[in-house]
Structures are given as structure tokens and as C-alpha cells.
Assembly symmetry: C2
DNA sequence: CAACATAATAAAAACGTTTTCAATAAGGGT
DNA sequence: ACCCTTATTGAAAACGTTTTTATTATGTTG
């Protein structure tokens, strides 16, 4: 075979507008307009060109479109991961977030590109790289800090983005969030109504905005009930299973230990249950545990736990929708939504049980 | 303000090779060569141009590079998700896979783009779309079926890809896999040695290649021990928590029920434990459970379980490495690796316990 | 019937690169 | 002093689009 394959090689090449122009006899301008359904080209030629395109299996080359349009058609998602091995079930909910975003982007020309980050500061660097190098047309990220460097940066550069969570600065930006203040309030109130006076809040990193929201709600429930808030029972740490377990082991060994636990996610909840098991305690009998659940797994814990449940995939869908609308030019102020999770009762709200 | 902003607008535009050409006085050809460190351009001019580029904050526009090079610089990853809400902890390990791939791709120009798929057939469509529309330079995917339409398609089209798992056809393609045959064999052997004669294998969808591998290993252990294989105790279904629970509830109600359970992943394991709890049985006392663990969570189950553990992030890293090498032109036959998970003993291997 | 508006298509420019090829300058050998 | 080689840079083409502008043909109007 001739290594240059002058003829057969050409035949197997992907067709372009130029190819179609040659086969149909029209100019590449008309081809382009016809395929984009421009009103200036006649219905008959449109038909003819479309047919030829179909026959040739023509697909517009995104690289050409991209260069010409000055767009990347990429939605960059910052995905946090923990560094070390032995990470323990961290970030498991991201699959669902991505699924939701993906659903929203279906039908659009946008694709999801993943940028793994270690922490918020690393996230700022990633954001800067994405903006400076023009790697994407917009950004989606979560794990918002009260003072989030990414939000500051992106707002200042006027780069489109949607945040899963709100920071504590009065800036206008598109976001989706869970009403964590309310959820923590409702959980605490429920435990108080169940007779608990010493309640532990297993919380993530204190710089996270929603960690503060949860503390606010936690406090308010005590104040409204006229009880001293359990500030000493707030465990601020990771979202890991290990942290949940360690928190229980620690908190149950201090004087006047907690009898109720409010967990921040499924991972810490699993850890809390593991810690209780190690101490010979059982949720629903010796202590009460209320969880927050993104991925509908609390039903399978032993015992099944009462949770505040909001499928995180739904948030993902909203993120994707807001992303597209933001890219299309809508104002950030119009792209903000707050969700309240559903209370799923799986354990009775027991009254005044003697603390073991 | 003048809506056209003739001057200030220009100043804020991203610099291009043309800009640099103007500021330095060199031609765009020289600029390009200098920045790519071509040997034909003199050291002095290189230095001058690099300085100017740095000062201007020049970053090559990927869209231009992409069009010219005919590459997308995208590594497409097919990410499976279950459709319905109430998905129950499915696909949680993908975060780790992505993290691993991301680590391997660091330093390269490649970015990860996510394509969510519902099942293998949907995956084939996605693969076809990616290939036909030229959305990526290569593909990474998992959940390999014994007869996987994606592998057939991609091999036939000679499109670069790396599979997490092997199909059962004798095709040459890059892959990374876990030795599931061995793992299932070892798990079964251990339970047999512990005195169990009726052992259940909680397996994923039977069309999955690694499901068959596991059955093979499962069988072999019985044969080698001279015991009748428990074909009736193979539960082939999903990877979901629900399936794990339902399997236990079903299997424990048949005559001569299993006393040992071998689980396929953490999700089903959690379900199995939930099912056992509902029946009043405890792992490690009434029955034995051996799990397979991707994400190091089995230590927190109650009780902690003996598992075969292989951090899936490591597989992800290998996938990314193989991807780059495949893209660079290496032969698929050189890009194949099989991993054996580590046995992590958390429960004693008990002898001949009366089945309750 | 000439002038002109309108419709349809074609030509050309642009997006930002990289690469091939041409052009210039400098140096070395005879 | 002249030719030839070599080193360095510049010009131009190409990647595949889309959009702006120009060109032609057609029909309408005074």
C-alpha cells in the first residue's frame, strides 16, 4: 500500500463544511448557514444541504466552532478530594452532584470537565488557572467557606459561576444551597422535645459557611427552649467517618456527656454509630442520633436513623440549570435557590430517658 | 462611556502571539517557536520573548492549539449512574477513580471530561458520540461486560481507550483490573476453612465480566475443597444497598440457608448487614461476612468486617497513566495490569459454628 | 424601460495556533 | 572578492468554523 493513501485516506476523513461545499456545489458560507437554519437561505437549498450532511455523516467540528465562537463549551466543576490514601468514604456524594449537573446540561453543547482540588485555597488556584487559561466558560463548585477566596476572585473577575452553598459576604452570585440553619434548628428542637438536654453537634470544618449556619440553628433551638446551649459539644472537624467515630469516643468520656447526636452527613454518621457500638451503646436505646443524608443511605444503618434528607442530585440539576442560564447572560440575583430537606422519621422521639 | 471602548477594551484583552509579535517586534512564527523552545531560534531571542510573554501574562489559547493540532486534549470518562432518585449510595467510588485519573494527568495538557451513562448500551452510544463528534482524544470507562459493546466498537474504530476491567473476548486493549477471580477464590476458601459449607455470593449484574470472574473463583474454591459448590446461593443483581439487604432476607428463608456471605462492594455489604440486623443475626457471631472494599469503609461497620481491600484511587492513577501512554502511541498489549487486593482481617476465622 | 429594491448565494475575513517554506544575513572557503 | 553553506527570522498556509460584506440574479415600480 502506498503510505500516503492519496485517495482512500481522503475518503475516510471526517467531512467538513468544505467537503459539503464540494459535494453540493454550494459555498461553505451557505453550508454553514443552512445547517444553522439561518433564515436567509432558501428552504430548498437547506433541504438539499441537510440531506448531503446526513448522508456524509457530517458533524460540526467543535474545535473550529470553539475557536470561532471564542467559547470552550466546558463547564468546569471543582471536585474536592482528600489527599492521602485511606480516605474513608469521602466525597461520595459527588457522583450524584455530577449526575445532576449532567442531566441539566443534556441537550446543550456544554460538557462537564473535572478539576480535582485539595482544599479551598487549592480551589482558588484552580479557578485562577481556569480563568486565565480560558479552560472553561464557567465554574461550578461547592464546599463554600464563610470567606471564600474563589467567590471573591470570580466575582472580581466577573467570571460566570454557580456555587453550591453561600458565603457570608454580601456579594451577588448564582448559588444553590440547603437551609442548614433551619435543618440544624429543626434537628436540635426535635431532640430537645425528646427530652435531651445535652446534645452534640458533629460539624465539618468551622470555616465552612454551612458549618456556621448549622451552629446558628443549633443555638437558636436552645435559646428558644430556654436551655443553655451546648457550646462545649460542638465537634468541628472533617466530614470523614473517622472524625465521627473519634468525636463520639471523646465526647462520651467528658463529664455530663451528650445523649443526642446531630450528624452532618452519612460518613460522619457511620462513624458515630461505629463509635457508639464500640462503647456498647445503641442509637434509639441509649442515645439518639439524627443524621443529615444526601444519598439515602441512613435507612440501612443499624438502627435505621431519623434523617433530614435531600437528594443531592436535585441540587446538582439546579446547579446545571443555573449554570446554563448564567452563561446565557442572566443576572446572578435571579439564580439563587434555597432547599429545605425533608424530615424522614425512622426512630420515635423518646421522652426523657435516663442517660446511661 | 463609549460602548465600543476602543482603547481600554483592547488593553484588557488576552494577549496572543500576535500581540507579542507587536510588542517584541518579532514575527508570530518566531514567537511560537520560541515559546515551544524550538532549537532553531537563538537563545537571546528566546529569552526576550519569554520575558515579554511573562510580562504580558501570555497563555496559549487552547482553542487555537486544539484546532491546529487536531486534538481536543480531553480524556473522556464514562461515569455510570443509576437513573431514579433514591439511588442509594451508588457509584460512590467514582470520586476516587476520578481523583486517581486526575493525579496521573497532572502536568499533562489533558483534562477530564465526564460523560454520564445509564448502562453499558447507553455507554456505547456515548462512546460513539464521542468518537464521531471528536469530543475527546481517548476514553476511560469501567463496568466492563463479558461482551462489551463499547470495547468492540472502540477496537474496531481504533480509538484509544483504557478499560477498568477486562471483557471476555480475546482483543488487545489497554486495561487495568482487579483479580476478582482470585479474590473470590480466597474469600470462599477462607470461609470454607472457617467451617462454612453454605456460602452465599452477593454478586452484581451477571453480564459484568468481573461477576463471572468472581463466580469462577467461588466455584474453584469449593471444587478444590471437595465440597459441592453453592450455585443456588449466588445472588446476581445490582451493586446497591437495597439489593444486599433483599438478598439476605431472601437467602436466609430458603431451606439450608447460608452461614457465610461474600459481598461485592461496600454498598451491598451495608445492605447485607442491615438485612442481618433485621433478622436478629450478627456478623461474626451467627454468620460470617467477607466484603470487598474500594474505599476503606468496612472498618466502621458493626462489627468491623474482614475485607479484601484495594484503594480504587490507585487503579484510577494507573488508568490515567495508561491513558497518556496510549495517547502517546504505545501499544495496548503493553498497557495491562492486574491487581490483587489485600486481605484485611478484622474478624477471626471461626470453626464450625452451629447454624442458627 | 430604466432605476432600484430584494432575495439568494458567494467571497473573504476572522478566531489563535503551528508548521512549512522562503528570505535574508552572516560566515567560511577558494 | 565571490560563491556557497549555515543560521536565523519572516511570510504564508492550514486547521474548521461563523459572520460580515460583496456579488449576482430576480422582481417591482415609476
Amino acid at each position: 500500500m502506498n503510505p500516503k493513501k492519496p485517495q482512500s485516506q481522503m475518503a475516510t476523513q471526517r467531512p467538513t463544511v468544505k467537503t459539503l461545499a464540494q459535494t453540493t456545489g454550494y459555498s461553505i458560507a451557505t453550508i454553514s448557514k443552512a445547517l444553522r437554519d439561518s433564515p436567509v437561505v432558501t428552504a430548498e437549498t437547506k433541504e438539499r444541504i441537510r440531506e448531503a450532511a446526513l448522508k456524509a455523516g457530517y458533524q460540526a467540528n467543535m474545535r473550529g466552532v470553539s475557536l470561532r465562537a471564542g467559547k470552550t463549551f466546558q463547564a468546569a466543576v471543582l471536585m474536592p478530594v482528600t489527599v492521602a490514601e485511606g480516605f474513608e468514604w469521602d466525597g461520595v456524594e459527588y457522583t450524584q452532584i455530577l449526575s445532576g449537573i449532567s442531566q441539566a446540561l443534556e441537550g446543550s453543547d456544554y460538557r462537564i470537565s473535572i478539576h480535582v482540588i485539595r482544599d479551598a485555597e487549592d480551589g482558588r488556584l484552580a479557578a485562577q488557572r481556569i480563568v486565565d487559561a480560558g479552560l472553561a466558560d464557567g465554574l461550578i463548585f461547592s464546599g463554600i467557606l464563610a470567606e471564600d477566596p474563589r467567590i471573591d476572585f470570580l466575582v472580581e473577575r466577573n467570571f460566570p459561576f454557580v456555587a453550591l452553598g453561600r458565603c457570608r459576604k454580601p456579594l451577588a452570585y448564582a448559588h444553590v444551597d440547603v437551609d442548614n440553619d433551619w435543618a440544624a434548628y429543626a434537628a436540635t428542637e426535635r431532640l430537645i422535645a425528646g427530652g435531651h438536654r445535652r446534645i452534640a453537634l458533629i460539624n465539618p470544618d468551622g470555616r465552612l459557611s454551612y458549618a456556621m449556619d448549622r451552629i446558628d440553628g443549633f443555638h437558636r433551638a436552645f435559646v428558644q427552649a430556654g436551655i443553655t446551649p451546648c457550646d462545649d459539644l460542638i465537634a468541628a472537624g472533617g466530614l470523614s467517618t473517622r472524625f465521627g467515630k473519634e468525636s463520639v469516643l471523646h465526647l462520651r468520656h467528658i463529664p455530663d456527656p451528650p445523649t443526642g447526636f446531630i450528624c452532618v452527613n452519612e460518613a460522619t454518621t457511620l462513624g458515630v454509630l461505629a463509635g457508639l457500638a464500640e462503647l456498647g451503646l445503641a442509637a434509639g436505646r441509649d442515645v439518639d442520633v439524627i443524621a443529615y443524608d444526601d444519598i439515602n443511605v441512613s435507612a440501612y444503618f443499624a438502627p435505621p436513623l431519623t434523617t433530614f434528607y435531600l437528594p443531592i442530585e436535585r441540587l446538582g440539576r439546579k446547579l446545571g440549570e443555573f449554570f446554563l442560564r448564567r452563561i446565557a447572560g442572566e443576572e446572578p440575583a435571579a439564580l439563587q435557590e434555597l432547599y429545605r430537606p425533608d424530615l424522614v422519621v425512622r426512630q420515635a422521639n423518646q421522652q426523657q430517658r435516663g442517660t446511661p
